[in-house]
Amino acid sequence: MVIWIVVALVGAGALGGIAFHRGEPLNATWFVVAAACCYLVAYRFYSAFIAARLLTLDDTRATPSERHDDGRDFVPTNKWILFGHHFAAIAGPGPLVGPTLAAQFGYLPGTLWLIAGAVFAGCVQDFIILFCSIRRDGKTLGEIAREEVSQRGGFIAQLAVLAIMVILLGVVALVIVNALKSSPWATFTLAATIPIALLLGLYLRFLRPGRVLEASFIGVALVLFVVVAGQWVADSPSWAHVFTLSGVTLAFALIAYGFAASALPVWLLLAPRDYLSAFIKAGAIFSLAAGILLVRPQVLMPPLTRFIDGSGPVFAGKIFPFCFITIACGAISGFHSLISSGTTPKMILRESHARFIGYGAMLMESFVGVMAMIAACAMTPGVYFAINSPASIVGATSDAAAATISSWGYPLQAQTMTDLARAVGEQTLLNRAGGAPSLAVGMAQIFSSTIGGPRLLSIWYHFAIMFEALFILTVLDAGTRVGRFMVQELGGRVWKPFARTGWWPGILISSALIVGAWGYFLYQGVVDPLGGINSLWPLFGISNQLLAAVALVVATTILLKMKRIRWIWLTLIPMTWLVIITMTASYQKIFDPNPRLGFLSYAKALAAQITAGKIPAVKIADTQRVIFNQRLDAAVTAVLAAMIIVLIIEALMQWYRILSADRKSVLHETAYLATRWPENFSGASYTVTAAEPDVPAMEG
């Protein structure tokens, strides 16, 4: 107990240090210590409380992996390995990009929300949804919502999943485009991973079926080689020309790639790329953690910047609600509820493991977010703003950007940007909104301080870009494929043959529909004069947080049915908070009079410019397209907001029924079945036989 008091005091001290420190730059160690101590205390006490009092996890109850053990979907899995699976599934580009963008408010608000949001909202959501799915044979969030809330609630959850998928894929594709445009080195490296993945696909399918580990070693070695080889391509004028692509060309290349990955057999391209990505992702995240601990960089960004007033160049909007909307996944991500009600519950061995896997993996994801925040804030604020601001705000040249950013109070020399671009092997680092390049610069500076010095800065930069782009591509192709299945399922309701997963016209049409949908958002982001991130990242944040609100509505309903009324605030408060931030952000994004923030006012301002004759005749068609896109974004935001309002009304009606004494609510849990596994069974071998005695059943 004494140890825990010490951990709590150290954590509180470090948090206090971060919050109240002014003047000299703060060392990153403060962030690591504050986060680690908060996570430890939260895991030890809060998650234990949820496990024991709220959910009353029961290890005598057989989990779906025991009930249905088939060695395919339902596989009893060791808790550490399942933690690895679950973490690899939930950790995507969100916790890297979100905190990097939110660093425009300063390091303090983002760091506090990453820690508090994860501890009180994100981890709670992941843990409880995982528990609910375990108790329901591994059912998905949509199925659980249909059973426990209402038919309409389930339908809304399904629609929300499809909407978030389309917006997510559009915005992450935009992050890749902004990282690769006019960069022959990075473009070559990423392009070369496609033939490498195809090679691995053929190896794993025909030469050595299923030998994932050896194939991945070969693949990772080849990928590391092409990172270095990219420099030779960039140095050769003829090859560099081939791989120097504009944003629009890259957008169409990604759209074509997404279509191919969705329609081709999964073993050929998608799965081998995913193996590569998983290993490189794990390696890069561990290296970043080790690098931060070894280098202990100074955090040069101030705790709060002047942009908390909403005038930020990276994206518009005040600290409330846009800090929360922008951080999204690192604190709470609705998407995680799909993993927690997907693969993981079918593989979990014991109910008590849900605490470590559900709550623990999300703590680790939040820690990745804190590291991204450190990497972004460890660079000079002037450089950070030069990389992440669109040309329409800071200017397209180094001189213009340096003058504008210096006038904000963040001194920057034009030469600094030119030198930095040369040092990392790029033509320019200006106007690369999206978070990936600035994170790569931050990571490269940390890595090169450990190994290689300034000489290897360019290699580390392109390693970091490749790592981010590779696993964003994995989200892109895996997401497109899942989206295709959703479209096929929806289409099958209208016309049955469409739902047949092996029917080629169905595959091609549904792939084209889903790729067309996210491709449209991507294209609109690439041609947006304000930099597409300004419009699309908040839209993504809103849809993601909306899905989290859906998951928490479902969790709250189930807890009410379980008669846990005394502790209902554990999910009710985060849910209410999410509803408040998504509704406020939606309202501001649609109606705010500031054209940089409000979709409709931007459309109106552009229309007024056309009427006043301020737009040259050749640009009128383009401007009209931008106007249409803004109105479309406003409509999408309005639909998302309407969905959550309908769901809340549905849930309130359901809660009224549950709480009114005259009606008995039905909980759709599977019936209690006692486990036959011995207490020390770890999933490592199948030692259980029918002859073993039953564990005495407890009251369910």
Binding site: D70, R72, V75, G210, F335, T343, F485
Partner: protein
């Protein structure tokens, strides 16, 4: 891994050195098995075991069939997040 002989450094007492070496080798072996299972390298072995233990089925998928079947299942539902 069970038959590996490790010579103890001269300055260490033998039993301690041996115990340490065995502990390290066991840990490495555990890690290796963990990584194999995490990435799906041992999935086929698991499947064969599961089928033999839990059902009367005699016809098993071949490694190549199982590999394709497993991937098709895995990538038809959300398994990679934002």
């Amino acid at each position: 891994m069970h038959s590996v002989q490790v010579e103890a450094p001269a300055h260490m007492e033998k039993p301690h050195a041996l115990a340490l070496a065995i502990w390290i080798i066991r840990l490495a072996a555990k890690l290796w098995l963990g990584i194999r299972e995490w990435c799906g390298d041992s999935a086929y072995e698991r499947y064969v075991q599961a089928q033999r233990t839990n059902s009367e089925k005699v016809s098993l998928l071949t490694p190549a069939e199982f590999y394709v079947d497993r991937l098709n299942r895995r990538y038809s539902r959300p398994n990679r997040c934002c």
